[in-house]
């Protein structure tokens, strides 16, 4: 077992555990905290694969922006009390069944399609430095990139409109 593998195992364990805890915590704030940890561990995975830029962006966007949004929302709604009624047994059973089913199906597919994946060859070529990413992003993916910016703008406007308090109708 190499260090890398151990690191991977640890990170994976953390990821899966926090993901589970996110779902199972009764307090939404706890969920959010677990989710942050989960995201950090995923960032760790990115680092493990040598994509530092992505890792950083991930931390900024997810752990920074999105999680803050979550937390703010939770607080806005004053949801920290554990008031959620438990789902009926049949629903939980359904959830577990579908969880198992989709796991099973996806893994089965993966095993079945193993040969299609192909060989892993490392050429040593630089493919994920900021420089390369920037070039690809702003050359080949110029237009989608612009669209993404428009999307964000629209989302921003939409959010503002949605969360503005409507005046009471006369």
């Amino acid at each position: 077992m190499s260090i890398v593998l151990i690191l991977f195992c640890v990170l994976s364990a953390v990821t899966l555990a926090t993901a589970f805890l996110t779902i199972f915590s009764k307090n939404p704030i706890h969920s959010a905290i677990y989710l942050v940890i989960c995201f950090f561990s995923i960032a760790g995975h990115y680092l493990l694969m040598n994509s530092q830029f992505l890792a950083i962006v991930h931390v900024i966007v997810y752990s920074g922006a999105i999680m803050i949004l979550f937390l703010f929302t939770i607080m806005l709604m004053n949801l920290n009390k554990e008031n959620e009624v438990h789902k009926p047994r049949i629903t939980r059973l359904g959830a577990i069944v579908s969880f198992c089913l989709i796991c099973f199906v996806l893994i089965l597919i993966f095993i079945n399609s193993n040969p299609i994946v192909g060989e892993y060859i490392t050429t040593g070529e630089d493919f994920q430095s900021i420089k390369v990413l920037g070039k690809v992003l702003l050359n080949e993916y110029m237009v989608p990139f612009e669209y993404a910016s428009i999307l964000l703008l629209v989302a921003m406007i939409g959010t503002v409109l949605l969360s503005k308090k409507e005046k009471l109708e006369k």
Binding site: V4, A19, I23, L35, A65, I102, C103, V136, A148, S163
Partner: protein, 106 residues
């Protein structure tokens, strides 16, 4: 660390992502709190992102990572709008329990 996948193996990443994704699905189905449902969706998105990156590395190609960027942008927008919607739903009905949001009933 250029040949990291030699040591870990792409299969492990795939397993990890599949399980992570399924946890997300499970969360969506299991919880009634809309915010938690949202979080589950984020988990699913991240599972996919992770797989993208893994394969990007596997194929030594930047395009997978570019996709992750876009996916992040979309996720950010989605979360912003989605949470705004949740807030306004909460304002209107005083709850974010998905079991109570039954207006789609035919």
């Amino acid at each position: 660390m250029n040949n990291i996948l030699n040591q870990i193996g792409i299969e492990n990443y795939i397993f990890l992502c599949v399980i992570l994704f399924c946890i997300g699905v499970f969360g969506v189905l299991y919880r009634r709190n809309a915010i938690i449902v949202f979080m589950s969706i984020e988990i699913m998105l991240n599972a996919v992102n992770l797989l993208f990156v893994a394969f990007s590395t596997y194929h030594q190609d930047a395009q997978g990572q570019i996709f992750v960027f876009f996916s992040m942008a979309v996720a950010a927008a989605e979360v912003a709008v989605g949470l705004a919607i949740l807030v306004s739903i909460f304002r209107n009905s005083g709850t974010i329990d998905v079991a109570n949001l039954k207006n789609l009933k035919g």
